[in-house]
């Protein structure tokens, strides 16, 4: 399924085919949920945001420009919605250490334990980053969006995206190093 399939599904939904939209939900619920989860750090909020995002897609269907990727547009709505919820919450929520956060995928057998420890440190470091850092790292490393797409989503230019990524990675590495010392 590619961009053309997404556009075809949207067209079918406009003509009354609900199943076509359900297909889009099944395809994109996971990346949307993960983006919201890394921004908000609370699985319940991420679930609510995911639901809201798809309903907003229906509401704003006329605003979608088919020249761009549907995924980018969907992500833009998701990130903005998650940031809105974060602003409404008013402050950084305390870390939910036992929350269902993703861990690293299985590494090679030769260094599985070491990599698992590294992954745990990295995951904890990520959660301790600021919302802005987490957002830009999520968009680049977990959602595989280009600098241009991230710039569109965040409403900044590409140079700013590169700069934010650079700083966020530096802070992440520092946090990982601190975790390793502790």
């Amino acid at each position: 399924m590619d961009d053309d399939d997404d556009r075809a599904a949207l067209a079918a939904f406009r003509n009354g085919d609900r199943g076509a939209f359900i297909g889009l939900v099944e395809r994109y619920q996971r990346p949307v949920y993960n983006a919201a989860l890394w921004i908000l750090r609370r699985p319940e909020d991420a679930g609510d945001v995911t639901q809201t995002v798809f309903l907003k897609v229906i509401e704003r269907l006329d605003e979608y420009d088919p020249r761009f990727r549907f995924f980018s547009w969907l992500y833009r709505i998701a990130v903005n919605e998650a940031l809105d919820v974060h602003r409404r919450n008013g402050r950084e929520e305390p870390l939910a250490e036992d929350a269902d956060f993703p861990d690293a995928d299985g590494a090679g057998p030769e260094s599985r334990l070491s990599r698992a420890q590294d992954s745990e440190r990295l995951s904890r470091g990520l959660r301790r980053l600021s919302t802005g850092d987490r957002t830009v790292l999520t968009l680049r490393h977990f959602s595989d969006l280009s600098y241009e797409e991230i710039a569109q989503i965040l409403g900044v230019d590409e140079k700013t995206v590169k700069s934010r990524l650079f700083e966020a990675r530096k802070r992440l590495r520092a946090l990982i190093a601190r975790e390793a010392v502790n």
């Binding site: 939904f13 406009r14 003509n15 009354g16 085919d17 609900r18 939209f21 359900i22 939900v25 099944e26 619920q29 996971r30 990346p31 949920y33 993960n34 989860l37 699985p43 991420a46 679930g47 995911t50 639901q51 798809f54 309903l55 229906i58 509401e59 269907l61 006329d62 269902d100 956060f101 993703p102 861990d103 690293a104 995928d105 299985g106 590494a107 990599r115 590294d118 992954s119 990295l122 995951s123 790292l137 680049r140 490393h141 977990f142 600098y147 990524l165 650079f166 990675r169 530096k170 992440l172 590495r173 990982i176």
Partner: protein
């Protein structure tokens, strides 16, 4: 190149966005600077760790919850943009004029329409007519209310005065023996006709009772059928949900495999880049040695001369 520029170069190479010049430059630096090579390894570990984080699983039932929230009829452009006086596509106009349910006469239909702003003199006149209907109805209701108040119906308990006495029953004069004449055929015929009428009434009542029972049974059967249909629907929905879950699992497995392959490819790329860097460094060393050798030879020649 300062430290930040070097780190930026490393990020670009590891992120897959480096230009060939950046890659060459980094390779030459890594070949000659052990500290930079160590830093590059640490960044490589960070990037590898980020690439290895698998996406979290959304909560179960999320798709079903979203599906339940989707409107049965998807919103259409024409519906949302429709405004009084605006031209609409033909299809939507035809659809909007199709009969739906009970059709009322136009003048009554107007009474139940949602009020909206008039956009022409004709519509304004139509709205005035509607207002007249509403005003007339209101006047009739008020008049009825006033009539009830004035007539004093129903009477209040304060107005009920007097003594309650037993009602005197009307007694008709009793027929005497002289009034009955035996042996008249007309009397027997009258009695027989009354009995037949009573029997017919009983039969009719029995028939009605049987019909009522039959209706009750039919309703029970309908209810059973509906319950069975609902059960069947539930089973079908459960089966659909299971299939969807299985499909999702298969997708996730495929995505995980893709992620693994990507990580392996990235490792391979990085290894290749390192090898290239080493090769370039070796070539540079070789060149430098050759240049030194040339210089020595030239020096020897000049000394000989």
């Amino acid at each position: 190149m300062n430290a930040d520029q070097l780190t930026g170069c490393m990020h670009a190479v590891l992120d897959g966005t480096a230009t060939p010049e950046q890659a060459m430059l980094l390779a030459s630096v890594l070949a000659s600077d052990a500290e930079a090579a160590e830093e590059f390894e640490s960044w490589k570990a960070v990037f590898r760790g980020l690439a290895a984080i698998a996406p979290a699983h959304p909560p179960e039932g999320l798709v079903a919850a979203i599906e339940a929230s989707i409107p049965m009829r998807p919103p259409r452009t024409a519906d949302r943009l429709a405004a009084p006086g605006q031209l609409l596509p033909l299809a939507s106009v035809v659809a909007s004029t199709q009969p739906r349910g009970i059709e009322l006469p136009a003048r009554f239909r107007a009474l139940f329409q949602r009020p909206r702003r008039p956009n022409s003199t004709q519509e304004h006149g139509q709205m005035n007519v509607n207002r007249k209907y509403w005003a007339g109805g209101a006047i009739v209701v008020v008049a009825l209310g006033v009539a009830v108040l004035v007539s004093g119906y129903p009477p209040k308990s304060d107005n009920l005065l007097g003594t309650v006495v037993p009602a005197e029953r009307y007694r008709a004069p009793q027929a005497g023996a002289e009034a009955i004449k035996l042996g008249e055929p007309a009397t027997a015929q009258t009695v027989s006709t009354a009995a037949v009428a009573n029997q017919a009434a009983r039969t009719e009542a029995q028939t009605k009772a049987e019909q009522t029972n039959a209706q009750g049974l039919a309703q029970q059967n309908d209810a059973k059928n509906v319950a069975q249909q609902n059960d069947a629907k539930n089973v079908a929905q459960q089966n659909d949900a299971k299939m969807t879950a299985q499909q999702n699992d298969a997708k996730m497995t495929a995505q995980q495999n893709d992620a693994k392959m990507m990580a392996q490819q990235n490792d391979a790329k990085m290894m290749a880049q390192q090898n290239n860097a080493k090769n370039i460094a070796q070539q540079n060393d070789a060149r430098m040695q050759a240049q030194k050798t040339d210089a020595r030879m030239q020096a020897q020649r000049s000394n000989t001369n």
